[in-house]
């Protein structure tokens, strides 16, 4: 029963360590910087190449200095990136909302008011993730075309929801589990019905966790390729599919490909950067606050 509502003063050590902003020069710090830059390099190069003329792009030795141009980007836009962008936004956005709508109550049922078969339900959810999606693509293709949803963005919405739901339930459950049981008890003694206590007490507490979950869903949905490439053609193509289409058309033109790749990857990268803390929190299931 020993749950604490606030960070108890006995666990000072980790909290203090992360608050200390040491501006000391440290050799490991240098190593870390080098590694960080190294890992980041391909992305950096991608964005850099996007600003080159084709002549400057595929050279050996590779050019670091050149006259930048926006030509590649306008070429990408000219080829009609708009619809693909909108499709991706739609599929990602709607599926994430659906995931939250379906997943939050499910996570709640599996944590705060445990169902008798909690472990079984969790097992089931995770096991759906383990089935290779390739096994489902065949009948899905047939079913989707039979019900006329081929090349329709809604097919992707539904599939992305099912793709992200298990992880979302898993993650949100871990956030729900962090809520001290006593809060629910206190609320119920104060006279709140279950729904009321959830709304006024629990949800505000887990909202960072829900945001983190949403972010993870957005990343996976936006970057998804397999379903998109098989179940869409022209109308419903998402950004990854559009990018691939670019290649088939353009062949070995690296600069414009880089521009297209940048456009495809940028939204999620920016999302991840700005919501970094949430991302970290979500991926570590709330262990890092």
């Amino acid at each position: 029963m020993t749950t604490t509502v606030e960070k108890s003063t006995t666990t000072t050590a980790p909290a203090v360590a992360s608050k200390k902003k040491s501006r000391k020069f440290s050799p490991w710090g240098v190593v870390a910087w080098l590694v960080g830059l190294g890992f980041f390099f391909p992305v950096f190069w991608m964005v850099l190449t996007a600003f080159k003329q084709e002549g400057d792009a595929a050279t050996s030795p590779p050019k670091l200095f050149f006259t930048p141009t926006l030509d590649q980007f306008s070429a990408v836009f000219d080829k009609g990136i708009g619809p693909a962008m909108l499709n991706s936004l739609f599929a990602t956005g709607v599926s994430t909302i659906l995931v939250l709508l379906l997943g939050t109550p499910a996570a709640f049922a599996l944590s705060l008011r445990p169902v008798r078969k909690t472990q079984d339900a969790l097992f089931f959810f995770m096991s759906t993730k383990m089935l290779p999606i390739v096994a489902a693509i065949l009948p899905l293709y047939v079913i989707v075309s039979n019900i006329g949803l081929l090349d329709n963005i809604w097919a992707l919405v539904i599939l992305y929801t099912s793709m992200n739901l298990p992880i979302a339930v898993w993650m949100m459950r871990s956030f729900f589990l962090e809520v001290p049981g006593e809060l629910l008890e206190a609320a119920s003694l104060d006279g709140a019905s279950l729904w009321r206590s959830v709304r006024e007490v629990i949800l505000p507490l887990v909202s960072p966790g829900i945001a983190a979950t949403a972010l993870i869903c957005v990343i996976f949905a936006w970057n998804e390729f397999f379903f998109a490439v098989n179940l869409t053609a022209v109308n419903a193509q998402t950004m990854p599919v559009y990018l691939v289409g670019f290649i088939a058309g353009e062949g070995q033109y690296w600069a414009v490909l880089s521009a297209a790749a940048t456009m495809a990857a940028l939204p999620v990268i920016l999302c991840g950067w700005f919501a970094q803390n949430k991302l970290v929190r979500g991926l570590s299931f709330g262990a890092i606050k």
Binding site: V5, A187, S188, L189, D190, S193
Partner: protein
Amino acid sequence: MAAITYKNASCIYEGSDKLAVDSLSLDIQDGEFVVLVGPSGSGKSTALRMLAGLEDIDEGAIEIGGKDMTGVPSKDRDIAMVFQNYALYPNKTVAENMGFALKLRGISADERRKKVEEAAKILDLTEFLDRKPAKLSGGQRQRVAMGRAIVREPQVFCMDEPLSNLDAKLRVQTRTQIAALQRRLGTTTVYVTHDQVEAMTMGDRVAVLRFGKLQQFASPNELYDRPANAFVAGFIGSPAMNLVKLPVTADGVKIGDSTLELERDDLTKLSNAGLSEVMFGIRPEQLELTDSGGVEVVVDLVEDLGSEAYVYTHAGSGVELVARCNPRTAPRLADSVRLRRHPEGVVHLFHPDTGERIN
């Protein structure tokens, strides 16, 4: 305000075959301050939570104000509870925390504000009303938890070890404040603690629990002067009562080579019960140092507390006795001294096997 009755109430441990609370029966008067005390695992918290509706009543019943609470959910019982870890809503301000129950009842914002401010004044929380719990100290949070309970003007206050997370000095301060508050408000209160000092100083009556069973339910004085069994005798009072199993002789009990004399009545009761051994209890302050007579003991340790001293000794047969004495005249380590029963000293006799009181 309401009377509370536990009628043979029992509660089963989640997922186990053991009873957390075993046929507890208590009759609590309206306005009374009752303390449930006992070691960990005694079921005291569970008993409290059964009252609040946070644990199921598996057997028996609990009545509040004459109404059976079986099946009545917590929110309908009109009980306010102060949790050990306070359970303050972290995303609400102090004022919102205290006013939450009223808001749920549909009381207007003005009325709420008034009541919250009243309670805040009593508890010295007025300057904190707009702060969130994270920005408060432990003692302040504790007061907010109390304020949340007071504002509701419920039938019953339940308090689950509310002082255990405070430092010692604050604990003593808050103890008196809570007792005074309860007297002023007159609300029936059930208070759980493992600290027998809290129990003795705060309660009108105290219920001692062990392994889910009620040992004794009486006023603090009664518990101190006439404990119903050896467990209560050893639990209440600090330092603890000397409890030793001793052989019975014709005149009294044998400690080492000496005999400590007992009253006629007591000896009669012992022989009537056919006992050759007895669990003998005497409080440290009922033993005194003497020059002649009594029992010969060797001093193991002397604890000087300034106002009094406690001498830890052992007698020849290995029996250990603690006696109180004047710190200025305390003996020294390894001294050989004599202890005897204080002339008006009370002796407690318990059955050596069941622990039940004999005299």
